[in-house]
């Protein structure tokens, strides 16, 4: 288990500071992080699927959790982007472009 530093940014999002080991973590806390940053064990950070939604992490009373509303908004945005991509590819295909031509244009 390693220790890391977390704090809440001015926009409400969590920042996660990973020390390299060149300095003691207490020195990193003072040098690289703002007032209010705290040292925690990385084992208490959100794990599994929740770890993927870093932008939905919130820090409350020294505990990092995932905000369900923020996570839902991220998932909705990802789904919308995927749907737009599928729709665009479909329209390109309908124009008669081959898969190779579509890949040359879009990288997909």
């Amino acid at each position: 288990m390693a220790q890391v530093i977390v704090y809440t940014r001015s926009n409400g999002q969590v920042a996660l500071c990973i020390p390299s080991g060149e300095l003691h973590i207490e020195e990193v806390l003072k040098k690289d992080c703002p007032e209010g940053a705290i040292i925690i064990d990385d084992s208490v950070l959100p794990q599994g699927d929740d770890a993927k939604y870093f932008d939905a992490w919130v820090l409350n009373n020294g505990e990092v959790t995932v905000d369900a509303n923020k996570k839902a908004a991220i998932i909705a945005a990802q789904q919308a982007a995927e749907a737009a991509k599928t729709s665009a590819l479909s329209k390109l295909s309908a124009l008669g472009l081959t898969d190779a031509e579509i890949k040359a244009l879009t990288g997909n």
């Binding site: 390693a2 530093i5 940014r9 999002q13 920042a15 996660l16 500071c17 990973i18 020390p19 390299s20 080991g21 060149e22 300095l23 020195e27 990193v28 040098k31 690289d32 992080c33 990385d42 950070l45 770890a51 993927k52 870093f54 932008d55 982007a81 879009t106 990288g107 997909n108």
Partner: protein, 145 residues
């Protein structure tokens, strides 16, 4: 003792050179346990800092020099914090990024973070659609004074 008279082998005592001018110095091992050479290379033209880190949802630093920490700010957005300050903020960060999920990946300087002598920001992107995303490995070095 003149430099030319130092024996090639068997020298055991450290030698302190003050304001010395060496035309050619062949050094097998340059050992600097402390001071600027140990924490920040004292020569121009070589990397003053570098870091290799995993850029995923659980960032880890795999190796570094003169980097005290990497801060994961948001998806694909990181701040590199240097241990010893550089002489000025006119340095050049260079690097690359690897992500097996992206057909191509891009490493950019984060324009939202002002360069200081100890800190700068980078962003990793999916090169296909130019959207910010985490990357498996991020490699950054700093050239400067």
């Amino acid at each position: 003792m003149a430099i030319s008279q130092i024996p090639a082998a068997g020298l055991v005592s450290p030698i302190t050179l003050s304001n010395a001018s060496l035309t050619t110095a062949n050094v097998t091992t340059l050992n600097a346990p402390s001071g600027p050479l140990a924490t920040q290379n004292g020569m121009n033209g070589i990397a003053k800092a570098w870091v290799n880190f995993n850029g995923g949802s659980s960032p880890t630093i795999n190796g570094s020099f003169n980097v005290s920490s990497v801060t994961y700010v948001s998806t694909g957005t990181y701040t590199i914090n240097m241990t010893t300050a550089l002489a000025n903020a006119n340095y050049v960060p260079v690097g690359s990024v690897w992500n097996n999920a992206f057909p191509s990946a891009i490493l950019e300087i984060n324009s939202g973070v002002t360069f200081t002598t100890t800190q700068f920001g980078v962003v990793t992107k999916n090169g296909t659609n130019n959207t910010t995303g985490n990357s498996g490995y991020v490699y950054v070095a700093v050239l400067g004074s």
